[in-house]
Symmetry: C2
Subunit: 408 residues, 2 copies
């Protein structure tokens, strides 16, 4: 604070205990001389600009002033119908517009879920490590966390939780694809426990090695012809299948929960942009998202492979990883936890390369044994350069730690 | 809740104590057989659809993928620059992009301010009656309220508050234009008290009887050539000057506060739609918002006059009002508080006309002596029909209350 406002009121408690590490990453990663493997951004050069232009023209011609209104809090009606129809087709269940709330990206759905369900101290059972944006979104509600055990979900723990949180498809940050058996087991446990399960699925369309199989929502919906009212609240988005700048996402769930989230959204921003939603509708109606996804997957596959092969050359003495079958990230774990990735980051800054250290994905901020490395934003050449810089950063880090030098 | 989810976790406390009265109004007011004088919506038939179409084409041609990215949390950079330049010109002060955060309508700025500043029980000193959306936005943070006394702002009270909240231009719901003397006095008090002042200015461009004079922000900025760092946080929007469906608004304030709100916004939705912001930028750069505002003001003036003259014919025995010099609403007070407007609403429903009763604008939900009547959404003919229905609703209400009948 500057001297002029030193006497002004304090910020809310959650902000006083928070930090601006993400903003620091963003600022550093955005510098032109830096190779950023930190963000979770699609490749901007692939955005379907011409298709967006045409879709906007169609949206304004077909929907006129309806595309420019505040509109319904729940979102642009034709897009809610389209999402419901697609989810019905994908899951075999029965979904209508009453099951769908459109949001400002699926990130806003996380914010709304926190507002609608969490009072201070309330429990969330979350897949760990956890998507940083979810931790950020829920911080103002001051929840407590326990780790979701995929191997054997703890019913007693789940019964105490307001909801469980999982990213079964190519999780952020780990890239893990959760097996169908584990999905079914988690759903069983959630049902027994009588709680909600938030299934966050932003990476669905980034299937680099083939389809991931049914969502947990599909397990929950079954083949029922009755309207869906199960415990899974499913979050989707066009941020990866089209473009992030439309900020169009959706929550699909039990109609009563959708009404609660709608009431919460009304108190948050009245509605998301009908204009952006009407454009997303015209794009999806024409199948542009599916075509676009199909066209970008080979590009991302090449980038993933470039990252992994270059990393095998330069990082494998100190890090290990599984090659992800989709998504945007490789999760690199320090061998035997020997390297502190918060410390390594400082050396990476010197080498002008950015990644995201594991501490920010940890409820407690303590895990410093891994790093998230993105492969979607840059060309294979730039990724290769980034990995070589990372290799040099590791060398410098290890040289500064005499106890590590003898390990290789 | 249906039986299938009766056992699921309870909603957060603020929702349990909340109600869905606004949604009920919206649903009822949206019925085709109902004349709605309830909403706060612009006239959809006046939306500049063709200009939006052209601006979108320009935005995608000029800004390309930058219009389709997540982009900076703070918003589309050229639009932040444009807002800063306009505010500088309007106020005579010095504002840069560091003073500007773009939001999903100015409604989101209210949500962010609540998150960033309010812990449970913290005090807000607000103009009363208060904009319903602000009360909604802050409910999840559980503040306490005290009424802002424009006549003689209470410094001791303000010193205890996280912020003061005011809508000096054509307030919602009352339509009141606050005098320059009172603006200056409030600013003095806020400065002495060392707190923040949120100046919400959505109706600025709806000047039906000439310009409203300087904003409180202008008083605070003075003619200083130093970058603004004063106590006023000013909220603006294109919802009334262009279209609401872009959901483009802004908060202008001290750079440190803008950084706090940015951190809060990042945790809320990562960013608003760059697409919508780039279109708003192209519209504003071309001056479309100023042209559009100039063209709709005469239409709204005619509608306001139609409402007031028809009301003089049918409502004046029971209600009194000041003709507002701008904005969207006439605030009708029951003479001697004889009529309970919550009760009257039930008779209005029978007559198929909607207004908003005063109780929803009251911190305590207790004031039942007035109603907010909108004049922007419908034609003079439809407004006239609505007022006649309201007159019949009052007759029916009064007939059902023998103690009132003798009063006329």
């Amino acid at each position: 604070m500057t001297s002029s406002n030193r006497s002004r009121p304090e910020r809310a408690q959650w902000l006083r205990s928070s930090n601006d590490i993400t903003q620091q990453f963003l600022a550093f990663g955005g510098r032109p001389d830096v190779v950023s493997l930190a963000g979770g951004l699609p490749a901007a050069e692939l955005y379907p600009i011409e298709a967006v232009k045409q879709a906007t023209r169609r949206a304004l011609e077909r929907h006129g002033s309806a595309a420019l209104e505040y509109g319904a809090v729940e979102g642009f009606p034709p897009l809610r119908d389209l999402i419901a129809a697609r989810i019905s087709a994908e899951t075999g269940g029965t979904f209508t517009a009453a099951n769908v709330l459109l949001t400002t990206g699926s990130m806003q759905a996380l914010d709304l879920l926190g507002k609608a369900l969490i009072d201070p101290g309330d429990l969330i059972v979350a897949q760990a490590p956890t998507y940083l944006g979810a931790l950020d979104a829920w911080r103002p509600r001051a929840p407590s966390y326990r780790k979701l055990d995929w191997q054997s979900p703890d019913r007693t723990l789940l019964a105490k939780a307001k909801f469980a949180y999982a990213v079964p498809n190519y999780s952020n940050p780990t890239g893990v694809l959760v097996s169908q058996e584990r999905r079914a087991a988690l759903l069983d446990a959630v049902r027994d426990a009588g709680t909600w399960l938030v299934e966050d699925d932003p990476y669905l369309t980034m299937q680099l090695d083939g389809p991931p199989g049914p969502s947990i929502l599909a397990h929950a919906a079954g083949r029922s012809r009755a309207a869906y009212d199960g415990p899974v609240i499913y979050l989707g988005t066009v941020s990866k299948s089209l473009v992030p700048g439309l900020r169009v996402g959706w929550a699909v769930g039990d109609p009563e929960m959708i009404r609660t989230l709608t009431l919460t959204k009304q108190a948050t921003d009245l509605s998301s942009s009908m204009f952006a939603q009407s454009v997303a509708f015209e794009l999806m109606r024409a199948g542009v998202d599916q075509e676009h996804s199909a066209s970008i997957v080979p590009v991302y596959r090449e980038r993933r492979d470039a990252l992994c092969s270059e990393a095998t050359r330069h990082l494998k003495d100190w890090f290990e990883w599984d090659v992800p079958s989709g998504g945007m990230f490789v999760w690199m774990r320090s061998r035997d936890g020997a390297i502190d990735t918060d410390e390594l980051y400082k050396f990476a800054v010197e080498e002008k390369v950015a990644f995201v250290p594991s501490s920010v994905f940890d409820f407690d901020g303590k895990d410093r044994t891994a790093m998230r490395v993105n492969f979607t934003r840059s060309s294979p050449e730039v990724i290769g350069e980034g990995v070589r810089r990372l290799g040099r950063a590791i060398e410098a880090y290890v040289s500064s730690r005499p106890q590590l030098k003898g390990r290789v």
